[in-house]
Amino acid sequence: MNLSTTKIEIIAPQEESERLIEELQKAGIMEITHTSHEEVEDEKVRKWEARRAKVDFVRSFLSRNLPKESFVKNLINSFIFHPYNFSYKEIQEMAGSSEIDAVIRECASTEERMNKLAGERMKLREELHILEKFKNIPVTKESKNSLQNFSVFVGVIKKGKREDLISELGNEVFSFSCGEKEKVFSLIYPKGKEEFFQEKIQKYEAKQEEVFWNDLPEREIEKTQEKIEKVVREEEKEKKRVEDLISYLPKVAALVDFYEWEIDKSRRLERFEKTRKFFRVTGWIGENDIKLLRRVIKRVTNVFLLQKTNSEEGENPPVLLKNNGIMKSFGIVSGVYGAPKSDEPDPAPLLAPFFVFAFGVALSDIGYGIMLIGISLLMKKLYKGVDNFFNLFIVGGIFTLFAGLTMGTFFGTDLNAPFRLFDPSANPMEVLILVSIFGAIQIFCGLLIGAAWDIKQGDKRRAFGEKGGFMVFLLSMAVFLISGMQIFLFVALGGLVLLNVIFSKEKKPLLRISSGAGALYNIVGYFSDVLSYSRLLALGLATGIIAMVVNVVAGIAMEMVPVAGIGILIAGVVLVVGHTFNLMISTLGSFIHSARLQFVEFFSKFMEGGGKTMKPFSKQGRFVEIIH
């Protein structure tokens, strides 16, 4: 339901402003509008912001160090909001105590140590990587610099060139050592022969490497490995320390929300219009909530004025949608499109029957219907806060099951059941006609809703002209197609033109006639709207054929493996994985395309959308849900 909202103002004594805003935030029923848009930076806000920054650091530090979850669990969690539950009193008490201060200090120092250790570990790993390259090179930093009559060269050369270099140097070289890696080598040669050696080295494009190791590389490797192990042990210790702190995560997250609320409150308080003794605040509220608001204010003071006020120019009322029970689930579908305008109907209950029908036809399989219902029930049991979402799929699953029954398919196998009404693979035209009729009915209903709404808003011209014209057209076309009497074809076209002419907005006769003729052009649009529903047939066929392919592949697997038990096992795996995969992609496709039919083909007949959802000033948290 689209509840109407109204703009109100509250005037109350200045000294009650802090208590009043606290009560307003707790109640969470009013969207506060601002008269000034200046950012306020007062002392209090700065204090809260500093506190928030500190606890938010701890929160993000602790959540980064949470124990790793399985991939699937992570994937599911990324779609679900898991709030921590606290009562408001508990959070207030936490904010007042100094318990968390110690945690903040501990986290800050632990993070510093962890970063230092991680940096050290990375540096050591890098050194180790280089040292491993120079394994078997019998040179150390000291030995390189202490030789008086010889020069030492340690370097890297292109693959395969090392042997060529050795043979070219011949007897001139005092000692030549090869590293374990193919490209590494060291040379020791008499001083005074530099020119000869440099030339050869350059010829083979060998690059000199810095010798930074004090001991032989093999020994250095051992030492470095020991050092790394030590650092890793230290890091483990720090991680243990963090693990002990993780139990504080809910509390810290709650405090982040708490300071956020305080900042919000202080900022708004500063923007209230004030006189010496009174303040004034304006905002939007659902009409049914005004009484409740009066009671909320009375908790603080009896001296106040609460009355309706006019909205400013260019200001549109926010939209307050409220649905109960299963309609909440359909609110998810319409929510994807966005809110209707404040004077348009809430589309959620209107699209519900059409959406589930389209969804069912697009999946249409007894097996998948049962699977969808089962998985949804399981998810509802395993996770909190997902009821609305999975209720949608339970209803969708029931329709899938029924659509599957009419087409007699079970996981892609044809049951050849006597109750089968349609056979989309043998006779697709039948189903194409069925979905087109369904489309025409939905479009007709859309027009009907649009016309009723127009009349309610006092726009009779649009109701009878644009919408009435096409309703007559669709009805007469239906009668024509069923009876075959050509007269109804003329009734369809004539009715459409005539109604558009009679109820045209234009005053001049010529313009009236042209607007009637313009309606003829829109017929193309209506045809393409109806034909758009053919996607349901295509999606249904695709689901069925992929399921069939899975069965065929399972059959081939069973035939190909001659050992009876293993063949059945492999076929079983193929069936389970294949059908789960198909259910996933086909459900996604069915959902998206059924939703699209609502948004594009249905909504356009009675609403524009683009309303702004009401955002009540409340204690709604990013991490916390307050329990009462």
């Binding site: 992570n74 994937l75 599911i76 990324s78 779609f79 929510g335 994807v336 499109y337 966005g338 693979s425 697709p428 758009s532 053919s534 996607r535 047939l537 295509a538 999606l539 066929l541 695709a542 054929i545 992929i546 069939m548 392919v549 065929v552 081939i556 992609i585 996604l588 496709g589 998206i592 395309h593 939703a595 699209r596 948004f599």
Partner: protein
């Protein structure tokens, strides 16, 4: 081997290959965008994945068309049907809609997915809208698939 059967197999081959190439191309582009996003905000992985896989449908449509053709010419029954040259041409032509539209639409849809993933960075709560926008492009692959299936249904082997 008769020309007819060669043409029919060619139909199956292009029906699968072209849309799969398109889907792979689109998924790789969207995947790169998603990696960038997930490196900053790992918690958005699920939604980014959803947007990435959307243009993958065309590949699956191609696959099921190929299977349909193989079934029609009896490649699963062990006994390959005697396909006349004319029928072979018919099957090849019937495969073209999903092959061509599948190839191009997946690439174009991939671009919408990429921008959708970029949108997730700023407004993850609006993921549904990004998904619908991307799925709009898929409409034409669905229509092409419908034509291919209807045509294959009519062709008698």
């Amino acid at each position: 081997m008769e020309l007819g059967i060669i043409l029919a197999i060619a139909g199956a081959v292009i029906a699968l290959s072209l849309p799969c190439i398109g889907s792979a191309f689109a998924l790789s582009g969207a995947g790169q965008a998603a990696t960038g996003l997930v490196s900053e905000e790992p918690e958005k992985f699920g939604k980014a994945l959803l947007l990435q896989v959307l243009p993958g449908t065309q590949g699956i449509y191609g696959f099921l068309t190929a299977i349909l053709i193989m079934q029609e010419i009896g490649m699963f029954g062990g006994q390959i049907a005697n396909v006349s040259t004319s029928t072979g041409w018919q099957i090849l032509l019937a495969a073209l809609p999903i092959a061509l539209v599948g190839l191009m639409s997946s690439i174009f849809q991939g671009r919408v997915s990429v921008t959708g993933i970029a949108m997730l960075g700023r407004r993850a709560e609006e993921a549904g809208k990004a998904i619908i926008l991307s799925a709009m492009v898929e409409t034409y692959a669905v229509i092409a698939l419908l034509l291919t299936i209807l045509l294959l249904n009519i062709i008698e082997v």
